[in-house]
């Protein structure tokens, strides 16, 4: 039940904010803030103790679970559950949600109520995605979170918002529909084999699939998640969406929406299609590495600061995809840390860009320069997050990237080396941001104010979280460990109906660790 409440609180808060916000913009802000704080507290009180408790080795993977009948004639149930992975992501969602509310505080003047309504509903959809265990329900939430996001962009976005919003929606929807087709295909194949027509995740796990079918279905899922991630070469919606979205939109996009793609890869693609994912792993990893480098190079050449940061997301999320397809504990833990830290650091960078835009009404790097003198504290934070973004040890992103690389290395040494090249490229663009915006000569005269208390607290919390994850990520690792271990166990299908599927994959289950051997 607590999971429903966790999702319902932002939904209700959103409605309330929407209604009251028509009269009083302040009310909408405070209600949203209160709802998210309440949700965060509830999550901390309910989930954290459960998640940190040592798990009995015989217990199932789920810490909390809830199953209600929904459309039972089609085998669809309202099935929510959370394991350590979900808990971590829920907490991240709420934290970044708060940041998003905080950074919209003074940025949004028009239709404030409706804005917060949309914002809260996006967050609720994301929470749903992170906890849904019925594939139909998952897809439901998956699409649901896009619509308010779309409105956030078209109503409060910048100059080119319509183009960006439509592009964003089209890309994610088409890919989502491919996933829907794959979900349904899986449902029927599973139903035909077992006689049990169900969309339930745990039921569908281990469905034996012929090699070709499995690959097609896996690609359906992969398409949706790759677009959301975003993986090269379907990343093109991201720079536009980020650039045009309001700050809170960018924060939620970068910090959370992209993570749903990563989460999907982790939770669904590999566990549901272990064989296909294994076969596809070299390609996926190659794409991931291409994304790492491509995103980094493109980020460097951008003149729009938001666009620049957007491309860095492409690069960073490539690491996550790389890790997922390596599928060993080290890489997966790294992926999780990377997910969180990218959310925090890129979210914070977007917040900073938003603050600059609010003050300067431009995001053009060519017009900035020498801002340090005007806004040293903002500059300091920007420097901090830029360093985090380039993977400076001691900050969370480093732990993520390092674990990923060290985990992937045994499976794909060459790709790892190329991916490590992304670290160099990351330093190029990260420092470029600081140089262009805050260092150097002032190109125009700006009279802008430094951070106020609310802004400083927002950034400070994010920075502290990054520092904490950089120096002591062990609690997160501990929390996610049983979840990841469970996912890695559900690897080998129960049985193969056709002999050709075993013949084509020699000695697949032989590896006790279950790592996929890609390019060696």
């Amino acid at each position: 039940m607590m999971l429903i409440i966790l999702i319902a609180v932002p939904l209700a808060g959103g409605i309330l904010a929407g209604i009251l916000g028509r009269r009083n913009a302040g009310a909408a802000r405070w209600i949203s803030l209160a709802a998210l704080l309440l949700d965060l507290i509830l999550a901390l009180v309910w989930l954290l103790p459960v998640a940190t408790r040592p798990l009995a080795p015989t217990a199932g993977p789920w810490l909390v679970e809830l199953r209600l009948p929904w459309i039972s004639t089609l085998g669809i149930s309202f099935h929510l559950a959370a394991d350590g992975l979900s808990v971590v992501l829920i907490l991240l969602t709420l934290l970044l949600g708060l940041a998003a509310v905080a950074c919209s505080w003074s940025e949004i003047h028009e239709r404030t109520g409706f804005f917060f309504f949309n914002l809260m509903w996006v967050l609720a959809g994301i929470l749903g995605v992170f906890t849904a265990l019925d594939l139909f329900l998952f897809y439901f939430f998956w699409e649901l979170m896009m619509v308010p996001m779309f409105f956030l962009i078209i109503l409060w976005g910048h100059e080119n918002r319509v183009y960006a919003a439509i592009k964003f929606f089209l890309f994610t929807q088409i890919a989502g529909l491919l996933m829907l087709a794959a979900i349904i295909g899986l449902y029927f194949i599973h139903g035909q084999i077992s006689g049990n027509y169900s969309f339930d995740y745990s039921a569908l796990l281990g469905t034996p699939l012929a090699a070709g079918t499995g690959m097609f279905l896996m690609l359906g899922f992969f398409a949706a998640f790759a677009v959301k991630l975003p993986a090269f070469p379907v990343h093109v919606w991201l720079p536009d969406a980020h650039t045009e979205a309001p700050t809170a939109g960018s924060v939620v996009l970068a910090g959370l929406l992209l993570k749903t793609g990563a989460y999907g890869l982790l939770r669904f693609v590999v566990p549901l299609f272990p064989e296909a994912a294994r076969a596809f792993a070299p390609w996926a990893m190659a794409l991931a590495v291409a994304g790492i480098i491509y995103g980094a190079v493109l980020a460097f050449s951008q003149t729009d600061l938001k666009r620049l940061v957007a491309y860095t997301s492409v690069s960073h999320m490539g690491f996550v995809m790389l890790a997922v397809f390596a599928w060993n504990e080290m890489a997966l833990q790294g992926a999780l840390i990377q997910i969180i830290c990218h959310g925090l650091s890129t979210g914070a960078l977007f917040v900073i860009v938003g603050m600059l835009q609010e003050r300067m009404h431009t995001r053009d790097l060519r017009r900035m320069g020498g801002l340090w003198k005007e806004v040293p504290r903002l500059g300091g934070f920007a420097m901090f997050f830029a360093l985090a973004s380039l993977g400076l040890p001691g900050l969370g992103n480093f732990v993520g990237e390092f674990l990923i690389l060290i985990g992937v290395f045994p499976q794909a040494p060459l790709l790892t080396v190329v991916a490590a090249g992304g670290l160099v490229a990351a330093s190029i663009y990260s420092l470029w941001i600081v140089q262009q915006a805050f260092h150097g000569q002032a190109r125009e005269t700006w009279r802008i104010s430094d951070l106020n208390g609310r802004e400083a607290v927002t950034l400070g919390v994010l920075a502290a979280a990054l520092l904490w994850l950089g120096l002591y990520p062990q609690p997160v690792i501990q929390m996610a460990r049983p979840a990841l271990a469970h996912m890695r166990q559900i690897q080998v299908p129960h049985s193969f109906p056709a002999p050709e599927s075993t013949a084509s994959l020699p000695a697949a289950p032989a590896d006790p660790q279950g790592e996929m051997h890609a390019i060696r």
Binding site: H235, G380, I406, F409, Q441, L471
Partner: protein, 631 residues
């Protein structure tokens, strides 16, 4: 006492946190106290620790203290834990000691700067990171310090951020070293993959047990680590960033780009020496890199006009000596030279800083001159430093350390005559460019008026360092000097193995020493003759076309910047720029255009004429019937 190990890096880091959070609200005085004080206490702690360490020495060569578990994933258990042995202690002593002096000096040097507390914040952060680097018990933590000092180096080179050139230099330093760092990271991956640990001592043990001498793996690992080392230590081929790094304030150059950070490469190799010893090839490469670098930098040093750039090239060159020593297995000599170099190079930079300070920021050697009388103290300490750098025999510490290297290069079983010759040539070059700089600066007519005289807080570190540059050498006096004194070697041997000398060459020690002494003195004499005794000869020499060409070539650091610009920088920028609009996006746009074209095509049938529509109906009927009839 050993329990307090963690305090040593923690204090400067705490200083950094206070300074960073306090920011501009702190008074200069408070900032200075915090900045200098934290490092000072660290230095005192280090001293106390050294005493404790020495007391237990023969029995307990190393201590490990874990502070907390950083992370523990799938067999990779990384602690924030510190390892203390002779090597680390030496490094710590230099970092905190010299660091403290430089901090003290900075109070005066930076007194009028806007970013006073920011400066000390960065400096404290640097000291903390550097201490973590040298104290790290595992390679992960070492990497943390490693990158951390890189970041501080970046921050401090670009300290005066208004000038884009400084920003460029800072980014260049960071990116170039990061190339090396990445190689090092790959080495870490490989080590963990093959040996299952990143704890240094465990690694050394397992490497020795599992890998044979001369096999491929240790060579690969060693070369990757060397990649990291050359990046950080500005050795060939990644040396290009250091001369530009002089854009930072001079104390920074003294601390980071001379005394401590740039020697991290040396430290890394010394730390992982067992792996290097498993690979003779890698060792030779280290030696060759060192030799080549010291010559290259020496020649470049000859032609510089900027006083700090001369010193920068000399740093590159001196670290080349250290690498050369490492390459021939002269571990103790390398460490000794590191320490002495820290003293005299810090001294030289600080003294140069005092000169620059005095001349209101003037760095051009040709605009200096005649400062002997204006700044007598600086003159004296500079002379001490220059002598030490040039390894003027007997009286300078530099002589003892450098001579030790030259001799062991000659006598080591891994050494050779060619390397020795290079080292000797380097010594000659060193003495030439050093005294060229010295004479240009202090002799001749006064060209720029003196504005500031150094205060006590600048003078005191200069004096201390000058003394150290002269007398520290007596810690290690060669055998040939009547049996000698080997305090330092003995000390360091608890951590690093002794050099394997070829018995056949051992007897030539005194000859060798004579040769190096001759090189140093010869260089000095040559410069004196060309510049002071008969300046016309010197001028004539510099007017030679060949000399001018060479001079320009060396001035630009052998064209490496140009080459790398051509090979990497410009193609990267070019590729990024032409693809700014994202070609992939273009492809999708094309797809969308295609869709719109199809829309136009399909829309062409919507003429609004009922006859057209009826025709469509009929065509459809005909087509369908054709399909069922003939297919």
């Amino acid at each position: 006492m050993i329990q307090l190990l963690w305090l040593i890096p923690a204090l400067p880091l705490a200083g950094f946190v206070i300074l960073a959070l306090g920011g501009a609200r702190l008074s200069r005085r408070a900032a200075a106290w915090i900045g200098v004080g934290s490092v000072g206490i660290s230095a005192l702690l280090t001293l106390a620790l050294a005493v404790a360490f020495l007391r237990g020495l023969p029995a307990i060569p190393a201590h490990i203290r874990q502070v907390w578990t950083w992370f523990d994933v799938a067999g990779l258990n990384i602690g924030v834990s510190f390892y203390l042995d002779a090597l680390a202690l030496t490094m710590m002593a230099v970092i905190t000691g010299v660091g403290f002096l430089i901090h003290l000096y900075s109070v005066g040097y930076m007194a009028h700067d806007d970013g006073f507390s920011r400066f000390f914040a960065y400096m404290n952060l640097f000291v903390g990171a550097m201490l973590i680097l040298v104290m790290a018990d595992n390679l992960m933590l070492l990497y943390l310090g490693w990158e951390g000092v890189g970041a501080c180096s970046y921050l401090l080179i670009g300290f005066w951020y208004r000038d884009p050139a400084n920003g460029y230099a800072a980014r260049k330093a960071f990116v170039v070293t990061r190339v090396g760092d990445t190689a090092m990271a790959v080495a870490l991956f490989l080590l963990f993959d093959r040996l299952g640990s990143l704890q240094i001592q465990e690694l050394m043990q397992r490497a020795g047990a599992q890998w044979g001498v001369g096999t491929i793996l240790p060579t690969v690992v060693a070369l990757l680590l060397l990649g990291g080392a050359v990046g950080k230590s500005a050795q060939l081929p990644l040396q290009t960033w250091l001369p530009d790094a002089m854009a930072g304030p001079t104390p920074v150059s003294a601390l980071i780009h001379a005394a401590t950070m740039v020697t991290a490469g040396f430290y890394l190799i010394a730390r992982t020496h067992l792996i290097f010893e498993l690979s003779p090839l890698a060792m030779s490469i280290v030696a060759i890199v060192g030799a080549a670098t010291l010559l290259l930098a020496g020649f470049s040093g000859l032609c510089q006009t900027d006083i700090k750039r001369v010193l920068a090239y000399s740093t590159v060159s001196q670290i080349g000596y250290m690498f050369l020593a490492l390459g021939v297995g002269a571990w103790a000599a390398a460490t000794f030279h590191f320490m002495i170099h820290a003293f005299f190079k810090a001294l030289l930079f600080l003294a140069a800083g005092a000169v620059i300070h005095a001349l209101s920021g003037e760095q051009d050697l040709f605009k200096m001159g005649g400062l002997r009388r204006e700044l007598p103290l600086v003159y004296l300490v500079f002379l001490a430093g220059a002598a030490s750098l040039s390894a003027i025999p007997l009286v300078t510490a530099g002589f003892y350390s450098k001579d030790m290297i030259i001799w062991e290069v000659f006598a080591s079983n891994r050494g050779g005559t060619l390397l020795w010759a290079a080292a000797l040539a380097g010594a000659l070059l060193t003495s030439i460019y050093t005294f060229r700089m010295f004479f240009l600066c202090f002799e001749g007519p006064l060209r720029t008026p003196v504005a500031h005289k150094p205060g006590w807080n600048m003078s005191l570190p200069l004096a201390v360092l000058a003394v150290l540059s002269l007398v520290a050498g007596f810690l290690e006096i060669p055998h040939s000097f009547g049996g000698g004194v080997q305090i330092f070697s003995h000390f360091i041997q608890s951590a690093l193995p002794a050099t394997q000398l070829l018995p056949a060459r051992e007897s030539n020690e005194i000859l060798c020493q004579l040769a190096s002494a001759a090189a140093a003195l010869g260089g000095l004499g040559l410069v004196w003759w060309l510049m002071l005794r008969s300046p016309q000869a010197g001028a004539a020499l510099t007017r030679q076309p060949l000399a001018m060409k060479l001079s320009r070539f060396w001035l630009n650091g052998w064209g490496f910047d140009w080459l790398y610009g051509l090979l990497f920088e410009r193609p990267y920028i070019f590729l990024a720029q032409i693809n700014r609009a994202d070609i992939v996006d273009g492809c999708f746009t094309l797809l969308a255009r295609f869709g719109l074209a199809l829309n136009a095509l399909a829309g062409a049938a919507q003429t609004g004429r009922v006859r057209t529509y009826a025709a469509g109906l009929t065509v459809g009927a005909a087509a369908i019937i054709a399909w069922v009839v003939w297919l």
